[in-house]
């Protein structure tokens, strides 16, 4: 089974070959490295950019304006914060020109904690991204979703922010990407660049196909009747594990992977919350002015009278950074036991 880095790579290959992607670029994205997380190894249109995030986003906007289809990588989302003005500009160019111009561009960037990345390799970007109008924002938590959402992003007419949870980069999927060899080593032999000299290496791409994953729909990962938990990215697997644990305690949790943060699938969330009357939103961005707070607000706006308990948010603590030492990271962003505790409490609240 492909891990997320391999899934993204196969999707980018497919997009180069069939969806008209013209440029996949960023710092260390081209050969020999193929990206600090190997997401861009062996591809045809990759190139290494100068160390200049503003230049990277500007280049992507220009390529898109001139009819190309760029995929720009910001090496870590921790380094995207000097480009917010350009991201806002990309998001308002169609609107400001009254519909004349569109920017079919994808910005992909690794996000979140979980690799002991310390203060500047642990940032989340979902709160900031969802505050920028004019973008579609996706964040897969499985290799198959990463593959499918990247294909969808490369077909999109508007700017797409593709957030990749660092912590899940090496996690293997449970579902096969159509066309990938079932056996791990086989896939690695085909598309992972060898150590040492790579000057003559070429990837052997498996014939991967289309999948039915679009920008928008959330996914009910586990059906449940008593509590709804909505998450995405690194915290998603934690929610699934927690739900399994709690089923043993007689608490039946419905788990929803949002997958697309904007525009998000309110219908699926609403239906679930109406059913359970209890909802916990989980993400790891800092919790003040957090996208989960938007979802809480939306919930109280539309479902207040159907709630059996207050809608809750479990997110990152509002601290200036995530420290390197394990106890610091564990205390700063949601861990499995935090999800368990939050769900238990939510389930226990009397209406």
């Amino acid at each position: 089974m492909a891990n997320m880095a391999q899934a993204v790579r196969m999707a980018l290959h497919y997009a180069e070959e069939r969806l008209g992607v013209t440029d996949i670029f960023g710092e260390d994205v081209g050969p020999p490295l193929g990206g600090v997380f190997t997401c861009t190894q062996g591809l045809k249109t990759t190139w290494n950019s100068p160390l200049d995030e503003r230049g990277i986003i500007g280049m992507a906007m220009g390529i898109a304006m001139a009819g190309g289809r760029p995929i720009a990588e910001i090496q870590f989302c921790d380094y995207i914060y000097n480009t917010i003005d350009l991201l806002k500009l990309a998001g308002n160019t169609c609107w400001a020109s009254n519909g004349q111009w569109n920017l079919p561009m994808v910005v992909m960037t690794p996000v979140g904690s979980g690799i002991r990345g310390s203060i500047y390799h642990s940032h989340s970007f979902d709160a900031s991204a969802t505050h920028i109008p004019g973008w579609k924002i996706v964040m897969p938590s499985t290799p198959l979703d990463a593959y499918g959402l990247m294909l969808a992003a490369c077909r999109e007419q508007n700017p797409v922010m593709f957030l990749i949870p660092k912590a899940l980069m090496r996690m293997k999927g449970e579902e096969l990407i159509p066309g990938e060899p079932g056996e791990d080593k086989a896939l690695s032999k085909l598309i992972d660049a060898p150590l040492g000299d790579r000057s003559t290496w070429k990837a052997q791409w498996p014939e991967t196909g289309e999948v039915d994953i679009a920008i928008g729909p959330a996914k009910v990962v586990r059906a449940g009747s008593q509590v709804t938990v909505v998450s995405y990215g690194r915290t998603m697997p934690l929610c699934r594990k927690a739900a399994d644990v709690l089923s043993g305690e007689g608490i039946d949790v419905e788990v929803i992977d949002l997958r697309t943060l904007w525009p998000y699938d309110w219908a699926t969330l609403k239906a679930s919350i109406k059913k359970t009357g209890r909802v916990l939103f989980v993400n790891e961005d800092t919790e003040v002015t957090n996208f989960g707070e938007h979802l809480v607000r939306r919930t109280t706006d539309e479902l207040f009278y159907e709630l059996l308990a207050p809608p809750k948010l479990l997110a990152g603590k509002f601290v200036p950074g995530i420290g390197l030492a394990d106890p610091l990271e564990a205390a700063s962003v949601p861990q499995e036991h935090d999800v368990l505790a939050a769900l238990r409490e939510l389930a226990s609240l009397a209406p």
Partner: protein, 394 residues
């Protein structure tokens, strides 16, 4: 470009000078005229370019002007047209028919030649334009109708550039590769390498042109443009222009920047650079022509700094009043045209009067047109999707 020049020559100068001879020109003759006889030496293709222009400045006081008579007349005509447009926009602002004015009166001698040299069209075969907010004269020289600018001033729904959403001077015209003028200073320099990158791969002779002011070069994006345009083996066909009026709103250039000649910023990047007199349309035309030809054929960047005037202050925020402290390129040009018997004072005056009336009439028209509806804010949030408020309203 030949197309535009031809248009200008056959139509406007005829009107301007009223001379039958030129009015009667055949298209073929006109096209021939469109190629100005350059009197100055062509630029040497120096292997390692110098920071200063290798192109000898034109001696404009020679008896014979180095450009074709029809071209001189058409440039003058468009310069006056642009000035009258800007002055009308200012008049609209002052009479409450617009909320904010910013524009390019004082830069016509540079902006008109620039427009004449642009290869106009859509897609990478044509020039991509990343302009700032002082370039109505460039648009007019490209053949744009002035009514759009007046509509944008009145923020009517008919404003062809932003539908009443953006400030005056914030043009956008996809059919001409004119990227939306952005209020944020200098970001266009970060985007310009992107369009040039596509053009480099596409081939042909389409190039990218980016313009901005002197103060804005303090932003990192100006440096980014130099870096990204000069990657070894990936040099980009981008004409990087700085119009230096020596002001950033109220701040004199010399007070905040220690760079003597802004074009020198390109030297370290091994790119060709020069500083030119943007108040002289003849020298501007010839200097720009050399730069355009270099970028079109060599597919490499060229940094041009043009010294220009700012005749009505920064914007309406600073009053938009005429200053006498800076040279007026139109006055200077008319002096020269008169001295060389190309255009008499009297005929020049007629051009001014004609465009004054024309702009006044167009402004009256724009003023009557409806504003956009409130509900239209939901249009074009996403390209190719219908208007939709993402959140239900209680």
């Amino acid at each position: 470009m030949a197309r535009d020049a031809k248009k200008l020559q056959v139509v406007k100068p005829a009107k301007a000078s009223g001379k039958k001879a030129s009015a009667a020109k055949t298209k073929a003759e006109a096209r021939a005229d469109a190629k100005p006889q350059v009197k100055a030496p062509a630029a040497p293709a120096a292997p390692r370019p110098q920071p200063v222009s290798a192109f000898k400045p034109i001696i404009t006081h020679s008896d014979e002007l180095p450009l074709d008579r029809q071209l001189l007349l058409s440039m003058h005509d468009t310069m006056v047209k642009a000035r009258c447009l800007e002055e009308r926009l200012i008049a609209m602002y002052k009479s409450g028919h617009g909320y904010f004015w910013i524009g390019g009166p004082g830069e016509e001698a540079f902006n008109v030649p620039l427009g004449l040299l642009i290869k106009k069209g859509q897609g990478p075969a044509f020039d991509y334009l990343h302009f700032h907010y002082r370039q109505s004269a460039t648009l007019l020289a490209m053949g744009e109708e002035p009514l759009g600018a007046l509509r944008q001033m009145k923020n009517t729904a008919t404003d062809p550039y932003s539908g009443g959403r953006n400030f005056a001077g914030h043009f956008s015209k996809r059919e001409w590769n004119l990227c939306p003028v952005s209020s944020p200073i200098e970001v266009q320099y970060a985007m310009a390498p992107g369009t040039a990158h596509v053009q480099k791969r596409f081939g042909g002779d389409g190039i990218t042109i980016v313009t901005g002011g002197d103060a804005g070069t303090a932003e990192g994006d100006f440096a980014s443009c130099l870096v990204w345009s000069s990657r070894p083996g990936q040099e980009l066909p981008v004409l990087i222009i700085v119009t230096n009026n020596r002001w950033g709103i109220s701040t004199p250039y010399g007070q905040v920047q220690g760079v003597e000649r802004l074009s020198d910023r390109g030297a370290a990047f091994g790119m060709r650079t020069k500083t030119i007199d943007g108040n002289d349309p003849i020298s501007s035309y010839l200097e720009l022509k050399e730069a355009f030809e270099y970028v079109r054929t060599e597919r490499k960047p060229y940094l041009v700094e043009a010294n220009v005037s700012r005749l009505y202050g920064h914007s309406s925020a600073s009053g938009a009043n005429l200053t006498k402290d800076e040279p007026d390129c139109i006055e200077l040009f008319e002096e020269k045209l008169d001295a060389h018997g190309v255009l008499s004072r009297a005929d020049a005056k007629k051009v001014h009067e004609r465009y004054f009336d024309e702009m006044a009439e167009l402004a009256r028209q724009a003023r009557e047109e409806p504003l956009p509806e409130g509900d239209s804010i939901w249009n074009h949030v996403f390209f190719g999707e219908g208007p939709a408020d993402p959140l239900p309203r209680g």
